[in-house]
């Protein structure tokens, strides 16, 4: 693994980013597993009705369907591991940053001064593993910190809210 992802005793990478807890990978695999079941159902329907769907190009249509099915299956299997390995986030007094991605790597940066609203959400998959997402909303879009442990998500949301209130009080 790249040294960028090594963590010290405080759970921080060399450049001060936090990495996700291993349990988050289980949530990602479960989510992708459900995705795979839905995908397999769609492919099964295509196989059953292939004559009606592809009419005179059945072989061509089925070949294309199978290529897409295999590619998506490989993606669903590999994605959680890559996503987990690359996911990093950090928050200081001025900004929130998230680095993540599977094929395309993104680096989101939100100045705390621009934050309007902070939400903590727990879907059924995240609840099963005691995880939550923090959605940071600005007037120009949102950034999400995903698969955090519930306590950590709550504490990040609380800290952000406190910073916003403190900033607004200073303005008054």
């Amino acid at each position: 693994m790249n040294k960028d992802f090594d963590v010290d005793e405080e759970g921080l990478t060399i450049d001060g980013y936090h990495v996700l807890e291993p349990v988050s990978k289980k949530a990602m695999y479960l989510r992708n597993g459900i995705g795979f079941v839905i995908l397999a159902l769609v492919v099964a329907i295509i196989v059953v009705y292939r004559q009606d769907i592809f009419v005179e190009q059945v072989d061509l249509g089925m070949s294309a369907t199978m290529v897409v099915f295999v590619l998506l299956t490989v993606y669903l299997i590999v994605a959680p591991s890559v996503y987990y390995r690359r996911y990093r986030y950090r928050m200081d007094d001025d900004k929130v940053e998230v680095r993540k991605g599977i094929i395309t790597i993104t680096h989101d940066m939100v100045p705390i001064e621009r934050v309007h609203q902070v939400n903590v959400s727990r879907g059924p998959i995240n609840r099963r593993y005691g995880l939550a997402n923090v959605l940071v909303t600005t007037a120009g879009g949102t950034v999400s910190l995903n698969y955090l442990e519930e306590d950590l998500a709550e504490s990040i949301a609380t800290k952000l809210n406190e910073k916003i209130i403190e900033m607004l009080k200073k303005r008054d």
């Binding site: 900004k95 790597i105 680096h107 940066m109 100045p111 621009r114 600005t138 950034v143």
Partner: protein, 485 residues
């Protein structure tokens, strides 16, 4: 205390009757031809008109607008009681609009726009008053919002910052359309010609309909809207007046502008022409992205830019071109696109070939030629996209603003204020990463919710510096939120 002009009741009745009438006619199907429906539709419309008139009168009677020294209080005292306060400090603009009914009744619509991205698609409130009263009220409100002492009558005497003739506006209507819209128009025309060859009247009608929707309506709408164009700046307030049938008068403060854009559609660029547009927070509806200069020569547009909104000009900026190595991810991206598009066209060709077995040789040849031409045009467009993007995309950082030149066929030279950036996202794909390149998306609050502007491919640390500068300006006090209220 004010009420809407009573003509608002008539407007509601007409709108409801047109809407209900259309629904009835569209749902009648084949029974349209026998004509026995007329008395029934007329009866339904009379009932609808009476009901809407009574309800509208009740709402009109029970809705009042009170202008205090600090706020507008809108009281609705119907079964659904509502008390709405709009502080003048939250108002971004008060605009005037006049439609056909307003011209008939000598009224104007005052549109109150607040500083919000949530309801920015529509004005927060509108009030219809007699033209003279609306003008006076707007002057008073403007003096409170913009600290602008000038009256509407004096406004009319301020010379325009650039002379735009109505010929310019007609040219703007034709040449300033996005290239994709022009391509759509050409395709619709080709489709119509093919349908004539096939002798398909239904196909011809649908082709003409597509041409009308995609090409004619945008051109006519643009000409009607920007006819009699005038722009001027008084202190920190820019005002735009235009309109042939509907008259528009939009005013906004310079500190509500997020970015200024010189837009050059491909066709206009061939004549060295461009338009000047602004992203403004607080203008609603059709005026959300005001045009500061309809299509003019690029040199004239740049001169107006410096004159009307110098806050976004920074001569110290040294734009850098997209690195040559950016050609690699762009070309690979287009190759992947070609791998998807060409087989789809090939499958289409095979399917049509089977379908056309019964037709004579000429029609089959025509369709085959069309599909092969589409394949060739697709490849030419892909090559053109890469070539134009590579030769024009630029990036520069200044003191207060930064610059993205983005796009390909249609070029946008976008001057963005650091202090208006809400968040940034630097992204690098599989190939671009190998060369240390990224693209940067900056998110701005806009009149249509939020606006994203995406740069070309540049070295990742250079693009990361945009977000870092936004944060640094907040941290060291160069960003002062009071400037933007």
């Amino acid at each position: 205390m004010f009420r809407n002009h009573p003509s608002v009741i008539l407007r509601n009745v007409i709108s409801a009757c047109v809407f209900i009438g259309l629904i009835i006619v569209l749902n009648m199907g084949s029974s349209v031809e026998d004509g026995g429906w007329v008395p029934y539709v007329a009866l339904v419309l009379v009932v609808v008109a009476a009901a809407v008139a009574v309800i509208s009168y009740y709402i009109w009677r029970k809705t009042t607008y009170t202008f205090t020294s600090e706020e507008i209080v809108i009281q609705v005292d119907t079964a659904f009681k509502k008390l709405n306060h709009i502080q003048y400090s939250k108002l971004a603009s008060v605009n005037v609009r006049r439609g056909i009914l307003n011209h008939l009744f000598g009224t104007s619509i005052l549109m109150f726009n607040v500083n919000s991205s949530v309801n920015a698609q529509y004005a927060e409130r509108t009030l219809i008053l007699k033209k003279e009263i609306a003008g006076r009220l707007r002057d008073e409100l403007n003096s409170m919002i913009f600290q602008k002492e000038i009256t509407l009558q004096e406004d009319l005497q301020v010379p325009t910052a650039i002379h735009i003739s109505n010929t310019d506006i007609i040219l703007h209507g034709f040449l300033a359309q996005p290239t994709i819209s022009s391509i759509f128009g050409v395709l619709a025309t080709i489709y119509a010609i093919v349908m004539i060859f096939f002798g398909s009247s239904g196909g011809l009608i649908s082709a003409l309909f597509l041409f009308f929707i995609g090409e004619v309506i945008p051109i006519v709408t643009s000409i009607l809207k920007y006819y009699n164009y005038r722009i001027y700046r008084v202190d920190d307030t820019i005002t735009i007046e235009c309109g042939m049938i509907n008259n528009y008068r939009s005013s906004f403060k310079v500190n509500k502008v997020n970015s200024v854009r010189i837009r050059e559609p491909l066709l206009a660029r061939a004549f060295h022409m461009a338009t000047l547009e602004a992203e403004v927070v607080g203008l609603a509806g059709e005026e959300a992205i005001p045009i500061l200069c309809p299509l003019k020569r690029r040199s004239e547009v740049e001169a107006l830019f410096r004159d009307i909104i110098p806050e976004f000009c920074d001569d110290s900026m040294e734009p850098v071109h997209q690195p040559r190595v950016a050609l690699v991810p762009m070309v690979i991206g287009q190759v992947i696109l070609a791998v998807v598009v060409i087989p789809i066209l090939y499958i289409l060709y095979k399917v049509l070939f089977v379908e056309l077995r019964g037709y004579d040789g000429f029609i089959a040849d025509l369709v085959s030629f069309g599909i092969i031409a589409a394949m060739v045009v697709s490849v030419v467009l892909m090559v053109g996209y890469v070539g134009l993007a590579q030769s024009h995309r630029m990036f520069a950082r200044g003191e207060e603003v930064f610059l993205f030149v983005h796009g390909s066929f249609d070029l946008n030279t976008e001057y963005i204020m650091y202090d208006k950036v809400q968040c940034t996202c630097v992204m690098s794909g599989l190939i671009a990463r190998r060369f240390g390149l990224s693209r940067c998306t900056v998110n701005l609050m806009s009149s249509t919710g939020f606006k994203q502007i995406v740069s070309g491919y540049f070295h990742s640390p250079d693009l990361e510096s945009v977000g870092e500068e936004v944060v640094a300006r907040i941290g060291d006090g160069r960003y002062d939120y009071r400037r933007f209220y």
